[in-house]
């Protein structure tokens, strides 16, 4: 069997619809980064028998099994017992682990709840994966080229533990597999991020490049106006696969032109930030309907303080007047959601902040507040640049509040990107 992996996510909350499983997605991406493909992923409830069955089933499909969730201190945390049952062993008490747990609480000046002692138990024949951020140790098992690694479900703890303790092992494993063996193909995945055209229009532009069986394989996903092309290249070694993917990136960029805003994990806000930084320009933002989302996206980027200066969320008419200097008569005449007010907001933001660029958005995010003339989803976006000011009207409805706010924010960032290209 080649090195491939399966992921099991444990927790009733995953099957009850209470929690989105972001852990498995993150692990898939990390595994692919060391060329280990995930062939199976599933979610099971907090039940010893179910956990045991899932491990059994997964061990028939993959030789690396990663399990998250169910290692906490409470009675619904049963993954320790599930893996012990699968291995046919008992749980063993580890006084050294208990010392670490006690210390964790002591450092924070909290009394240690009795419940936490259970976390010092590991199935016989397994070892601890250290957890620097919490009290739940992970569990590691390796035998006959099979690896099973268990992590707590708390994403920040799981990620840190995986990267520190397991990823280096897997990297070594993946490399040892490659040397001298032509049978194990290496996968390299790159992404091209597009905005400004629909999925099928982009597919038509690409034509036969998206045919099944082609290498690289090109897949397409859509998320709120962002089209992502996944370029999956296969080759006998990593450099060849990377070169194949890179050729496709060049080819697709040539075909798609301005529709492409970035590569891999780049966000629109990151790309805009980089362009501002390169051009040594600053940006101010005045938001109404997006309510802080645009600034939030911009400041998600580390170092954004180097180009982002002022942000206003002028939700009320009074704040548009007092903070941005929008004329009261303008709001009375055209309404707060109008091309005129959007433009006045951008002008006010530019004037007050002294920034090179200022953007503004006003609209109706819903669910209430729409009318026949001004329906939910109506949004005006204005961009004031050193060369002048542009205001555009958009209809993003009928959709829900979250969609309209996100779509308006993405669209504004994209218009700003195109403006910065010139």
């Amino acid at each position: 069997m080649q090195n491939n992996a399966a992921i099991i996510s444990v927790g009733n909350e995953l099957l009850n619809g209470n929690t989105v499983d972001t852990n498995s997605t993150w692990l898939c991406s990390r595994l692919l980064s060391v060329s280990i493909p995930v062939v199976y992923s599933c979610a099971v409830g907090d039940d010893i028998e179910e956990i045991k069955n899932a491990i059994e089933y997964a061990s028939g499909k993959a030789d690396i099994i990663l399990i998250t969730g169910g290692l906490g201190p409470t009675d619904d945390d049963l993954t320790r017992d599930g893996i012990a049952k699968f291995l046919g062993v008992e749980l063993e008490y580890h006084p050294d682990i208990f010392e670490k747990i006690k210390k964790f609480f002591a450092v924070r000046n909290y009394p240690m709840p009795e419940k936490n002692k259970i976390q010092a138990y590991l199935p016989a024949g397994t070892s601890e994966i250290e957890n620097d951020l919490g009290t739940a140790p992970g569990i590691f098992y390796e035998k006959d080229k099979k690896i099973i690694a268990l992590f707590p479900g708390v994403p920040s703890e799981m990620k840190q533990m995986f990267d520190k303790s397991i990823l280096p092992k897997l990297k070594k494993l993946a490399l040892s597999e490659v040397e001298g063996s032509a049978q194990g193909d290496i996968l390299v995945v790159r992404k091209i991020r597009c905005i400004g055209a629909g999925e099928s229009a982009i597919a038509e532009m690409l034509g036969d490049l998206m045919k099944r069986g082609r290498n690289p394989l090109i897949n397409c996903t859509v998320d709120c106006g962002i089209i992502t092309l996944h370029i999956i290249a296969r080759a006998g070694d990593k450099n060849k696969a990377a070169a194949l993917a890179q050729e496709d990136i060049q080819r697709l960029r040539g075909i798609l032109g301005k529709l492409v805003y970035g590569l891999d994990e780049q966000t629109l806000a990151e790309v805009v930030g980089k362009k501002l930084l390169d051009a040594k320009k600053t940006l101010a933002v005045a938001e109404s309907c997006t309510g802080g989302l645009i600034v939030k996206m911009i400041t998600d980027v580390p170092g954004s303080s180097r180009y982002f200066t002022y942000g206003w969320v002028t939700y009320s008419n009074e704040s548009k007047v007092s903070e941005l200097g929008v004329k009261k008569e303008l709001i009375e005449k055209f309404g707060a959601v109008s091309s005129e007010v959007a433009q006045a907001m951008a002008e006010g933001a530019k004037r007050k902040s002294g920034s090179d660029f200022a953007v503004a958005v006003t609209g109706i995010a819903g669910p209430d507040g729409g009318s026949e003339q001004k329906p939910v989803g109506l949004v005006y976006i204005s961009i004031a640049s050193p060369d002048g000011i542009n205001t555009e009207k958009f209809l993003f409805g009928p959709r829900d509040r979250d969609f309209i706010r996100l779509r308006a924010s993405q669209t504004l960032l994209n218009l700003l990107r195109l403006k910065l290209d010139i």
Copy 2:
């Protein structure tokens, strides 16, 4: 077999770590709302054989199978073929569906790409699930009390289609199962949302209430400081189960007191908003390190314009001075991240907005900008209320930027909630 369900998510992007599968979580929650438990959930790649195998395996575990993804117009959309193979039938062309697809483009004044014609094909013996928001119709199959329903992977389309076309059918099915039959237990899940104590401290307070086998079963999940207790009540009919869950809610509220901020899907921002509305008070927000996230969370709530007035993201020192009237000397003496500046920001926001409450936050979200005296994760939160002003210092690090920003925002909202309780 009882009515239970399995969910299959199709798409290479799910196993490549490129896309988080939120569809299955949403479907789990919707199914539970009509008392249909999900017993299995998995993700498979874009491959006809894999899709067929997954349907086969799921059909051994559940009698309702919901499948999302792979119904688009591009060559990597193979779910149509996978289900046809499972059913052992051919794809058939439906001219009426093709007319709808053509109309979809005509209304939007776009030329229809040729690729979209494939979406007018359905496996023989299945019927269309109408899609009002996109071009991909869903596919419905029912035979011998088995149901298979397929939806496109685009969340907004899938959700609208499920709610409109499938949920009513399932509701009827679930009800028919209950009448006169004591064997099928009904599940009701309620949630209690807490903030202000850790998972094991809360588990200790609850003691035996969290024991396995108890009815209701109480599960616990943690997400960035928010502890959610899931109360899963079982009974022969829905009213009895709901009453059992309600009794536990009362009991847990009594034990946990102020740690409980809300129930079910309530967010902190919603709870704060309701309290402001009830008290007829208004709120202004001045953010630095959280960069718009707090206002974004507040304005996620429909109708928030009734209490939220002014928002500033004063990222630069100049904007703190010019927009909030923070004294320049104060920043020079204590630094932008200090108790003094946080307080001055809140005071300035209250004065300038004329709101009843004003909150402010300043801190170091990282990854850069930390020092020994002021490490990454240091955050000051200030709340100006009609009774005066309170400023508190927090250490949320060492953690990543996203965690620190979210934790700071949640903490601020929680402090405001407690203040509004008095």
